[in-house]
């Protein structure tokens, strides 16, 4: 079992004729993902590594029965691509593109919300269900199947943490990169009920950072509504206030948004917080 993506996921790649799109389409297929085609406006009828390219999302969905899109379209063209996905029969849109104007994201996200389409990202490394499929750019060889659900705002930090879990023999169900932007389609809070309902997930690892309040909101939800336990990691203890630490969303704008404040609040809510990555597998083993 898993959340969001599994063997029934049929993926189209928006921006498949680009360098990143074509490369990762191939990597996803190698891992077992059912990639059924791609979309690039103006290039309908071409093929990329044997996959059909369509000129629009709707044509692609109609021809392939795709239910999921993964987006590599460059930021300045992403608005149209997102709006197109929002006005389709897709169920899930995973947006890898980084640096999309916030108002463009909001506008498309509003439309997806009202059309019942789930957006993951933007600025997301994607989603991987261990041993089954991956949608996005995560290095799949890091994952082994097991009982840990992972949700994170980062890319490489997530890989580091998954590698430490795998090295300790703690496999994963699904790992979701929710993205490092301030406006994202799927947040920790949205994923928690999915992990709660997934019979194979026993523990959730939440990888957070400075900025916003989402980690705290998630911990409160977990405490009140869930039977499963969570372990957290928060990056940015050494980040100075008022400075954007790479991610558009990683910015301390108030005292509540510092790593120290988040760690203190999570611990007061009973969520164990690792100070070093190597502590995460130990804490997971303790709460499991």
């Amino acid at each position: 079992m898993s959340i969001l993506v599994d063997k029934n996921t049929r993926v189209i790649v928006q921006g498949i004729t680009g360098r990143d799109g074509s490369f990762h389409a191939e990597k996803m297929r190698e891992y077992g993902t059912n990639v059924v085609g791609g979309v690039t406006p103006g290039k309908g009828g071409e093929t990329v590594s044997g996959l059909p390219v369509f000129g629009s999302v709707n044509e692609a969905v109609e021809a392939t029965g795709a239910n999921t899109s993964v987006m590599f379209v460059p930021a300045r063209f992403a608005k149209q691509a997102l709006l197109e996905a929002a006005d389709s029969a897709l169920k899930l849109v995973v947006c890898v593109t980084e640096g999309i104007p916030t108002l463009d994201v909001l506008e498309a996200y509003d439309l997806m919300r009202s059309n019942g389409i789930r957006l993951v990202g933007p600025n997301s490394p994607g989603i991987a269900t261990a041993g089954v499929c991956k949608v996005g750019i995560m290095p799949a060889q890091l994952f082994i199947p097991g009982p840990v659900g992972v949700m994170s705002r980062s890319g490489t930090l997530t890989y580091e943490i998954v590698a430490s879990l795998t090295a300790a023999g703690l496999g994963q169900t699904t790992c979701v990169g929710i993205g490092g932007d301030p406006i994202i389609g799927t947040r920790y809070l949205d994923l928690l009920p999915m992990f709660e309902n997934d019979p194979e997930t026993d523990v959730v690892v939440m990888v957070g950072e400075i900025g916003g309040q989402d980690e705290i909101v998630a911990a409160k939800y977990l405490l009140e509504n869930m039977s499963k336990r969570m372990v957290a990691f928060i990056a940015g203890l050494t980040a100075p206030p008022g400075k954007r630490m790479g991610h558009a969303g990683a910015l301390v704008e108030g005292e509540d948004e510092t790593a120290a404040s988040k760690i203190a609040k999570l611990e007061s809510l009973g969520v164990p917080v690792a100070r070093l990555i190597s502590e995460i597998p130990k804490l997971v083993a303790q709460v499991a």
Binding site: M138, L157, I183, P240, M245
Partner: protein
């Protein structure tokens, strides 16, 4: 992207938001001619990209030319939170009857564009929100509603913002103008604090704070033109030109990492083992060796750096490209401090082979690397 108050007020004026436009001066003499043309009393305000100007002595009302010259000299000599004051806004002093807070921003909690208001202005809105949340007025809008916003939609909010005053219609007009400006310029914040009613009953934006969405600058050359290079950290500008993200800190261990979350974690781990990071440097997800060279130059421009810790978790980033960049950097310029390096992931074997015998200290894990960097730094 930040702009100065005087620039924000010029934009307000263009969008029909009544404000004390004033004029900008960079010498005491220029403030005198500005004040003479608008008439005393005037207010002098330091134009720096930071808050808390008032508390730092960067804002002063003056009513004589002597007082003006003196105050201008003093404020132009100030440095407010690391920002030297190079420009002053000279604006007519306003007699205030009431003041309120009005802002329009992207609310990440609600995923909406949101008007925030408070009938008490001139205060720290974050403090008010925490201590007396009942005093905060909110109007949450989707982008579609923001585009379609009319004065009638704003009236209830405006009446709460200016209770008992007859200016609610004017406030609603300002809100519609703010909405238009927010959308047309791709803002991430428009803040009027305070929004005042003056003695004659006019509604005025007495201060103006505007932030532009960095991600949208590609379609707004006019916004980019408002950027003040003098008020930005030159290192951060250099980093941006090389598609790196760099933030200078006060420590001794230079860091180069791929990915923002991992870069923060690397700094935190250094601190955990008793060291102090000199910088945040996210070299990003690409494999361009030129980035490693630019990154090394930035780190080494700080004489306090005693050791460099390079931590790469290769995914899209190829470890051998990073190694190639480092070796090229050593050819181009002297690297006078030891390097601790940890490379895992894509092409790590090739990278380790390239590095071997070059005097760099190889670490197997992030934590080992951080510990070694701290030790090496302590010995230096």
């Amino acid at each position: 992207m930040k702009i100065h108050e005087y620039q924000a007020k010029q934009l307000f004026d263009k969008f029909g938001i009544a404000t004390t436009l004033g004029s900008v001066a960079s010498t005491p003499e220029e403030t005198v001619s500005a004040a003479q043309s608008m008439g005393l009393p005037v207010v002098l305000k330091a134009q720096v990209h930071t808050g808390g100007r008032g508390k730092a002595g960067g804002v002063k009302v003056v009513s004589s030319i002597d007082e003006l010259k003196e105050a201008a000299r003093t404020i132009l000599g100030l440095t407010i939170k690391d920002f030297p004051v190079k420009k002053l806004l000279v604006a007519p002093a306003v007699k205030i009857r009431t003041e309120a807070y009005l802002g329009l921003l992207i609310d990440r909690g609600a995923s909406k564009v949101t008007f925030i208001g408070c009938a008490e202005g001139g205060v720290e809105i974050e403090q008010t929100a925490k201590q007396s949340p009942e005093k905060i007025i909110r109007l949450e809008l989707t982008v579609a509603r923001l585009k379609a916003l009319t004065e009638i939609d704003c009236l209830d909010f405006a009446r709460k913002l200016l209770p008992g005053a007859g200016q609610a219609d004017d406030a609603a007009k300002i809100m519609v103008a703010m909405a238009r400006m927010f959308l047309e310029l791709d803002c991430s914040l428009i803040e009027i604090n305070p929004l005042v009613i003056d003695e004659s009953g006019r509604l005025l934006a007495l201060d103006a704070k505007v932030l532009f969405d960095d991600n949208a600058l590609f379609r707004h050359p006019d916004n980019v033109a408002l950027s003040d290079p003098e008020s930005q950290d030159p290192d951060e500008v250099t980093a941006k030109e090389n598609r790196l993200t760099f933030v200078r800190l006060n420590g001794e261990i230079g860091c180069m990492v791929n990915g923002a979350g991992l870069a923060m974690t690397t700094m935190d781990t250094i601190k955990y083992f008793g060291g102090s990071p000199a910088n945040f440097l996210d070299a990003g997800g690409s494999s361009d060796p030129a980035k490693s060279i630019a990154g090394m130059k930035l780190i080494l421009s700080d004489p306090r750096v005693k050791v460099i810790f390079i931590n790469i978790f290769g995914g899209i980033t190829r470890c051998d490209d990073v190694a190639r960049g480092l070796l090229a950097a050593r050819e181009q310029f002297d690297i006078p401090v030891p390097i601790v390096i940890r490379l895992v992931g894509t092409n790590e074997k090739a990278a380790r082979a390239m590095i071997a015998g070059n005097g760099m200290i190889l670490a197997d894990t992030l934590e080992d690397g951080a510990r070694m960097a701290v030790e090496v730094g302590n010995r230096a």
